[in-house]
Amino acid sequence: MPRADFQVVIGLEVHAQLLTTSKLFSGAGTSFGGAPNAHTSIVCLGLPGVLPVLNQRAVELAIRTGHALECTVAERSEWSRKHYFYPDLPKGYQITQYEFPICVGGRVVFDGPDGEKSVRLTRIHMEEDAGKLVHESAASLVDLNRAGTPLLEIVSEPDLRTADDAVEYLKALRDILVWIGVNDGNLEEGSFRCDANVSVMRHGSTTFGTRCELKNLNSFRFIKQAIEIEATRQVEIIEAGGKVEQETRLFDPQRGETRSMRSKEDAHDYRYFPDPDLPPLLLTPERIERSRKELPELPRARRKRYVDALGLPAYDAGVLTSDRAMSDLFERCVAEAGEAKPVSNWFMGELSRLLNETKTNTADVKFSPVQFAALLKAIKDGVVSGPGAKEVFAELFATGKDPSLIIQEKGLAQVNDDGPLLEAIAQAMAEAPKNVESYRGGNTKIIGAFVGAVMKKLGGKGNPKRINELLTEKLKA
């Protein structure tokens, strides 16, 4: 294993599309798909005379992200132009933040296989996305639907040491971004993209090796593969006495290799300079603080609270916080019901099952927390039996009718009165005199058969606890 002597060093650059309805500097829409060039305007086409006007919603989302990732949100940041010629870039430059980004520092904390890890962030800046080219045999076609879509570029320090950690970091980062509503976390559609800077050094070394930037990593699996393949390539070069060249490399998942896209010498000179069309972005301390106060509780904190304060098992806490809408609904139901574990059981069991089966989004469930709490109370009060409650819940989920109404309509009310219970018991005992004798002879286990028979006579609606009590009494007599 050539890798044993070497330490891999990884830094990640994530491009996350902000969930705004319009572009960063124009009113054109941002939805994915659509006919080529349908989501464009004179601004994103780069017509003569057009000027950028900043989308304040995108700024809000960037500030929120800064708070969620514990960054310092800058009161003054600046827009720069990054120049290169390519048909996906209509103006000949991309508007981005260069010298003065909106967020500085920060970190992402995640739970790796060997415990909690913290990766430092260098910066987060805002920029506009480019369009894309569609290459056909006779020509290349330009689709500018994506051009101008707001992006956050989240740059980590080279703190990661394994491909697995890199993936865990990305998952944690994605979970946070999705949780706070700034990104949809979709790798395939490219709304959450990652480039990896990978280098290797001998264990114990204090200086990093020469790094290569890996592109085209559009799934977590590819990211892990690409990093490992690239690290092995670099180690082999060094062990063969060679030197790693700084370059940008493309990951080819089909061939399972990375290959050179462009060397450092070919690197563009982007000729950055402050965009004279846009004044510096000034944020008042009040605006920054307001956003901090509005930041929702983040998934890690919430998981911890579920365990520490609500007394839920870590497993429950993990499942419940895997989705913001699920967790928020859970919170509201717990608040109504006044207890957590029964709510958790229903959420992890029946609710998850029904959501999956009906392909429903948690946000679209029809029942209210008040109704859900009413169902739990009905169970507790013996109004409905366990099996009956499942039926009620299924109907509640499907229709959003009040549980009491469902119980009434479906005749699911539990029989709690001694009268009908005793009648059924008397019949059951009369029908099985041998079993009565057997019980009285000491075979008390046979009571189960009586409970079943009684329950059958009551159509499954008898209160099992009371049936047990009454049966025991009668059988002993």
């Binding site: 004179i42 086409l45 780069g46 017509l47 003569p48 005379g49 057009v50 000027l51 950028p52 006007v53 900043l54 132009r81 120049h83 010629f85 048909p87 209509p90 103006k91 000949g92 430059y93 290349s140 330009v142 000179d269 000729r271 950055y272 300079f273 004279p276 069309d277 846009l278 004044p279």
Partner: protein, 470 residues
């Protein structure tokens, strides 16, 4: 040759109609003795004139510009009317939208006769750098009308239109106004929207009026100025009724004569014209003092770093892919770019793109662009300092009289030096106005330049108004 006020009076008194005025303007625009026009919008102008007459007949005339024929420099977009920026690159470009200033002029009832010639993308001071034709000075057709707004200057000076819009990046309104005996105002940076104006150097470009009189210029400014949500650098400074501010005189105003603006090689008649203007203002009750703007000598170098840097970036979009000139026989992407841009741009534009690209390159940025921005701050501070003790700075607009069209063509540096008195104002973002201050022995117009505090066009206009009347 009629002023906007005179045309407006004729319309108001029903001595003439907007259709009659437009018909006459279109006829002389088509004749175009001085090669002022690149496009004439006969259909649009006639429709606007008719609409104006109908409004007036209903008693619903819009204001002082309603029915008045105007022209726009051809780097100001006009929906449906070809807008070229004086470049082969955009020879066939028909904009799908109006510039904000175009829309505002239309909303004020002005009748847009056509689009006027300019140095390609505004780069030049003679209109000779137009890809299509040089414009001639109506005072002497063998001479330049100045530039880059030379077409607008000639169209107004020749009496074809009542007024026109130009754009000024380093003097492109003021110098041609000076060369053609007009009033030309470059407003404070941010007062007028740049939306829909083809960018040359974004931190310097401003649209402004060119007209026969100070009052006409004020009326045009009133129509086009004010905040625009489509331009993030446009200011929300309050709109002003400029005409009301004109007549309060100059008594008590302090006028500064910057010694650095009396440059070597300055024409003697221009020099004495400036001093005479100062005397006249003094006679009207202003006080005149000598001042110093010590960083003036760096303005030229500063401008010719910043403007080309921004131009090299702004002109990157002309790549032959989506619109504009596209090389016919390119076989690969790089070739498409190289050929389209080589064929589409003229020599002066290429020169400035190369200058700017070089100055922004990695390793040179600090030495050129960043240094230039620092000097720009010093130049701005010079003015801030000066405006603590004076209200107006007075100088010549151009150190020389309009030169012959066949002169100076092959020496770009000598051409750049002609802008030396107008550049500092642009770098500092101040309002600057050029107005006639006499005629040379050879019969050529001489202009003086007034500079004011940021957003203090009021003082600028009333000083100019007083000087104009005496």
């Amino acid at each position: 040759m009629k002023t906007i006020v005179e045309i407006g009076a004729g319309l108001a008194e029903k001595k003439t109609s907007a259709v009659e005025v437009a018909t006459a303007a279109l006829a002389s625009a088509k004749e175009d003795t001085f090669s002022a026009f690149l496009a004439i919008d006969e259909a649009g102008a006639m429709a606007a004139a008719k609409a104006s007459d109908e409004r007036r007949a209903r008693g619903a005339a819009l204001g002082p510009l309603d029915g008045v024929p105007v022209a726009l420099k051809d780097n100001i977009l006009t929906e449906g009317v070809v807008t070229t920026a004086g470049s082969k690159m955009l020879a066939d470009f028909t904009p799908p939208y109006d510039a904000t200033v175009t829309a505002r002029l239309k909303a004020a009832g002005a009748v847009i006769i056509g689009k006027t010639n300019l140095d390609e993308f505004g780069m030049g001071s003679s209109t000779v750098n137009s890809a299509f034709k040089p414009t001639k000075n109506p005072f002497d057709p063998s001479r330049t009308p100045g530039g880059s707004s030379g077409g607008s200057a000639a169209a107004v000076a020749a009496g074809i239109v009542g007024g026109a819009l130009g754009t000024d990046t380093g003097g492109s309104i003021r110098q041609p106004a000076s060369f053609t005996g007009l009033v030309g105002l470059k407003p404070t940076y941010g007062r007028v929207s740049r939306a829909g104006v083809i960018a040359y150097a974004s931190s310097l470009d401003q649209v402004g009026p060119m007209a026969h009189t100070v009052e006409d210029a004020a009326l045009l400014l009133e129509a086009i100025e004010g905040f625009d949500a489509n331009d993030s650098t446009s200011s929300d400074a309050k709109k002003t009724v400029w005409r009301d501010a004109l007549r309060s005189g100059v008594k008590g105003l302090r006028i500064g004569l910057p010694r650095e603006y009396f440059v070597d090689g300055m024409d003697a008649e221009v020099d004495s014209s400036v001093r005479a203007a100062a005397k006249r203002l003094e006679a009207l009750g202003a006080s005149v003092v000598d001042i110093s703007l010590p960083h003036t000598k760096y303005a030229l170098a500063t401008y010719y770093v910043i403007a080309p840097c921004e131009a090299s970036s702004n002109l990157g979009r002309y790549d032959g892919v989506r619109y504009g000139h596209r090389a016919a026989d390119a076989k690969a992407l790089k070739e498409l770019y190289e050929k389209s841009r080589s064929e589409g741009f003229g020599p002066e534009v290429k020169r400035r793109i190369m200058l700017g690209t070089f100055a922004l390159s990695s390793g040179y940025y600090d030495a050129y662009y960043r240094k230039a921005q620092q000097v720009r701050t010093l130049i701005t501070r010079d003015f801030e300092q000066a405006f603590q003790s004076v209200d107006i700075v007075l100088s010549a607009t151009s150190p020389v009289l309009p030169w012959r069209l066949d002169e100076k063509l092959d020496d770009p540096l000598a051409m750049y030096l002609m802008d030396v008195l107008t550049l500092p104002c642009s770098l500092a973002g101040l309002p600057g106005l050029s107005m006639p201050s006499g005629v040379s022995a050879s019969g050529l117009p001489i202009g003086v330049q007034l500079l004011g505090r940021r957003f203090d066009e009021a003082t600028l206009l009333r000083t100019a108004f007083a000087l104009e009347k005496h």
